[in-house]
Symmetry: C2
């Protein structure tokens, strides 16, 4: 099979089989009203030529594509983990997966533009990962994971960010830390805000006043965390611990500490958030908050498939907002503060 030069179109198959393209289309899509003998002949040609209908042409014309699209602003550890979970959830559903990573990564509103570009339905439904924008006028099912701050008209999937951040901060407090720096995340994301809220709550519960001087904005990426991490670690007096709003920025804290010849956890304890696989690879392995990112992806797919397959069930109803648990994972980047070191 497959000697064919270049792309084989439905027309090639039709010509070779001596039928119209409509008949070939019927055979390909298993529509009724084709004689058994014709089906057999056409199918033979299809196999012989290695014909497969063009995704693009098909989706331009027809409504259903059996494809789920996930829109990400880039492929980094978080989105990659999410994709793993989503892909696994998609296994049994008969949907195929397309991941679209536009070039306009950082720019505000990338998801609305990407959504527009995919419109005309390459996909039956779309999952938006950490979108920067609240309102998306979508003509098809959309689910948002870890969304922008604001009231969501879309179904959303999030982790217990506040609880996780509180647990992380408490962990440091329990270890005797009092000057705890905070490396904040992308302020447009609800998750980042709630992680900061968790940090504050834990401090408040411990009767420690929130000190803005101990806070910097890391922005969730390694690059954008470099300068603020350095600022935190060179404060005088230096915080004895830093809670970073995600693992990527925590990893940058680790790196910066090394550059400053500070030992983690001896000189400074570090906690992250996410539990991306990379967090176990650091030296020392990172204490972090697990938010089972794969489960977020899994859940998003579940919601989306429900929306696609049973639009009637959710028509008038409020959009679903699913929250998944988080859990502290203690590794070796944190340790109890020496008593004598305390002020």
């Amino acid at each position: 099979m497959a000697l064919a030069a270049g792309r084989v179109t439905i027309e090639d198959v039709a010509a070779r089989a001596g039928v119209s393209i409509a008949t070939v289309s019927r055979v390909v899509n298993g529509r009724y009203g084709v004689s058994a003998s014709t089906i057999e002949r056409v199918q033979g040609i299809i196999d012989e030529l290695g014909y497969e209908s063009s995704l693009v042409a098909r989706s331009l014309r027809s409504q259903r594509t059996n494809i789920v699209a996930i829109l990400v602003s880039g492929i980094e550890p978080f989105s990659a983990e999410l994709l793993k979970g989503a892909a696994r959830a998609l296994q049994d559903t008969g949907f195929e997966l397309i991941v679209y990573s536009g070039g306009m990564s950082g720019q505000e509103g990338w998801e609305r533009r990407s959504l527009s570009r995919l419109s005309g339905t390459l996909a039956d439904g779309i999952i938006l990962v950490t979108p920067t924008v609240v309102e998306v006028s979508a003509h098809q099912p959309v689910v948002a994971v870890d969304p922008h701050v604001g009231g969501w008209s879309l179904p959303t999937v999030t982790a217990q960010n506040l609880e996780g951040a509180r647990a992380a901060t408490r962990h440091l407090l329990d270890l005797g830390h009092r000057r705890i720096g905070f490396l904040a995340g992308r302020s447009d994301l609800e998750s980042a805000r709630r992680r900061e809220a968790g940090y504050r709550e834990a401090l408040a519960e411990a009767g420690i006043a929130f000190d803005p001087a101990l806070v910097r904005v890391g922005g969730f990426t390694e690059e954008s965390s470099e300068q603020p991490a350095r600022e935190l670690l060179t404060l005088d007096p230096r915080p004895t611990a830093v809670f970073a709003a995600n693992d990527l920025s925590a990893i940058q804290v680790l790196r910066t500490a090394r550059e400053l010849e500070l030992s983690v956890p001896d000189d400074v304890s570090v906690v992250g958030f996410d539990n991306i696989p990379e967090s176990a690879l650091t030296d020392p392995p990172l204490t972090t908050v697990d938010q089972s990112i794969q489960a977020l992806g899994h859940e998003a797919v579940r919601l989306l498939v429900e929306l696609i397959d049973h639009p009637e069930r959710t028509l008038g109803a409020e959009p679903a907002h699913v929250t998944l648990p988080t859990e502290l994972v203690v590794r070796r980047s944190t340790r109890a503060l020496d008593r004598e070191a305390k002020p």
Copy 2:
């Protein structure tokens, strides 16, 4: 911006601007021959309506899409790592990324079918990840990563699989192991074959006869490795070490060992191959061979972009075959064999 209900098409923009769709198309694509005032007016409407041209419609009609597609048979740790590297390499190129994971994952020939479906050019070029088939009649630039066995008419990117496997096996030999089990990979992949060859070479160099009884086929996935892993660990006498052809199967060996109440590395040492981030998360952390998967993705993108942008340079030439280095990473799943335990 963006009040629009449903998808905004080029026609909506044209109507609102009082011009033809041809003119709008020209503005969108920056073609010459539109008056400055018209450009301004049309662009205004575009912004106002939040119009973005449909990827599908555009690519059906025109040749160039500025999109690179990566075809994977599923999203698991290996392909996810590869995507990270590819995405990063794509950052500066002006190309966007589409990842396509067809539903026909396991089936032989999935890549030819996926390739066909994307034909009609959703993408300007395509990267095939661990394809099961050698010959792909492609009408556009294609690069294969970790390809099928056979003579490749396509450019390929691979790691030094033989050398890496030899280093892994030598490591076990150096630790005093003599009965070393081998959990082989997908026999259709060149990489799997070369890893087995490396295992054999190292044994031969150490003057140890290759024993087929110590070999099982794991197939590179956790599920397919379950039974063969169990067989290896219940051999009598049991091998003192197992070299698994990839990390996923090595992780399954770890799991099976635990079920059998065997301690790793006390009762049996385990080595994997790949160094996926998950391999550092295991208990104990896995000794493995790093093949910098991200670099494979990076290199594949480099080759592909070269093919797309400068087809003339590679027209008559032999396709490029890039090989990237591998390196042993010693963690805690291996240890020296006690002298007294030796036969």
